[in-house]
């Protein structure tokens, strides 16, 4: 039996009713945490994030969409690869620092073994057209998966109208104008957080 768990406490979900969908569950034990991260990382050819969203939010229902966005945002502003930070936070949320270590190990163990096998095999097959074309087809699918995932996350930010502005500016800056990510974060971050701070204080 799955335990039904309360939402992550630092999120005041009452402010964001649109993302209060089905109740979430907790992992059965720390071992399940390991295997789920092992599973989703091995699916992630070209990008783990769409699979993380699919499995953690849609299949396992360990996180609501807004909780997922929350952890991704923190992973974005804190140093470190986003996915590593996401694994740490999910693990830590359920099982404390042990959970963080287990989720991280689950995410890294198998890919680190595989990469050396792939590297050895690649030196033999890299220039066969079949492999090159197959990889190209997969890259196009990965692009589609990332776009679809971003669209699926929009319900988590519908609470305020100003949120559309920040999302549009971030997209315009990095996606259209190709500005440096760090500069976009340094400019938009304080503005968005500042406005949220002002809005929260007023309410």
């Amino acid at each position: 039996m799955m335990k039904i768990r309360p939402p992550i406490v630092f999120l005041d979900s009452s402010r964001n009713p649109s993302s209060q969908h089905a109740a979430t569950r907790a992992p059965r034990n720390i071992g399940e945490l390991f295997w789920v991260f092992n599973h989703l990382t091995l699916l992630g050819v070209g990008g783990v994030l769409p699979f993380a969203q699919r499995i953690l939010v849609e299949d396992k229902r360990w996180l609501r969409t807004d909780e997922f966005v929350e952890m991704l945002s923190l992973g974005q502003v804190l140093p470190g690869p986003n996915l590593i930070n996401l694994a740490l936070m999910v693990g830590q949320h359920f099982f404390g620092w042990r959970g963080a270590v287990v989720a991280l190990s689950g995410m890294l163990a198998a890919p680190l073994v595989l990469i050396f096998i792939v590297a050895l095999a690649y030196s033999g097959f890299a220039h066969t057209p079949l492999v090159a074309h197959g990889l190209q087809g997969m890259s196009a699918v990965v692009a589609g998966l990332v776009i679809a995932m971003a669209v699926k996350l929009f319900p988590a930010i519908q609470a305020r109208r100003s949120n559309w502005l920040w999302a549009a500016l971030a997209f315009g800056g990095v996606g259209v104008l190709r500005l440096n990510l760090l500069w976009v974060l340094l400019v938009l971050g304080p503005l968005a957080v500042g406005l949220a701070w002002w809005q929260l204080r007023r309410s």
């Binding site: 050819v45 690869p81 589609g144 549009a168 957080v193």
Partner: protein
């Protein structure tokens, strides 16, 4: 490998890069290239680029796999270990400390503002990632069709993304796109 002259500064650079990797580790590429290729000639341009491509083609977090391959090419297995641990350790400690803090002080105004304010920026950035990937791949109408079909399928159906990836690989290998 000479531990003090080579491995120690190598490790120290990965520790430093870990702290600098705000907004995703991909932004580190220019500096990694500068240090490992241009300054020390530990690997050449082609090795650097193929490590990046392999990190993306193999399952798992791309930049970690990329770092592992760099370390492996330069100092063998100990090098891979140093690179991965170096790139992960400092940022992980910061993330875990902040996550703990933010849960204890969840009612603090600035913690809530930080979480509220950054969420839309993150969603916008994810959309940019998808957009940039798509633009890079959209060589012709067949590719655009494949991308559009993927977006539609994953929004409208519960199909496992793995099947879509396999279909993409198959279309590519058969020369249909």
């Amino acid at each position: 490998m000479r531990w003090f002259d080579d491995a120690l500064p190598f490790f120290a650079h990965f520790l430093l890069w870990s702290l600098l990797s705000v907004g995703g580790a991909i932004g580190l590429l220019p500096d990694m290239h500068r240090y490992l290729v241009a300054e020390h000639h530990w690997i050449n341009d082609a090795q650097f680029t193929s490590a990046l491509a392999l990190g993306q083609a193999s399952p798992g977090p791309n930049m970690i796999l990329f770092a592992a391959l760099l370390g492996w090419q330069i100092f063998g297995l100990p090098g891979a270990l140093l690179a991965v641990v170096g790139l992960i350790l400092p940022s992980s400690l910061i993330t875990m400390a902040y996550f703990r803090y933010s849960r204890i002080h969840r009612e603090r105004l600035w913690v809530r503002a930080m979480h509220d304010g950054m969420a839309p920026v993150t969603v916008g950035l994810l959309l940019s990632s998808g957009w940039l990937l798509a633009r890079h791949e959209a060589a012709d109408w067949q590719h655009i069709g494949l991308i559009a079909a993927t977006v539609t399928m994953s929004l409208r159906t519960r199909v496992n993304p793995l099947w879509l990836l396999l279909a993409g690989a198959l279309f590519g290998a058969l020369g249909l796109i």
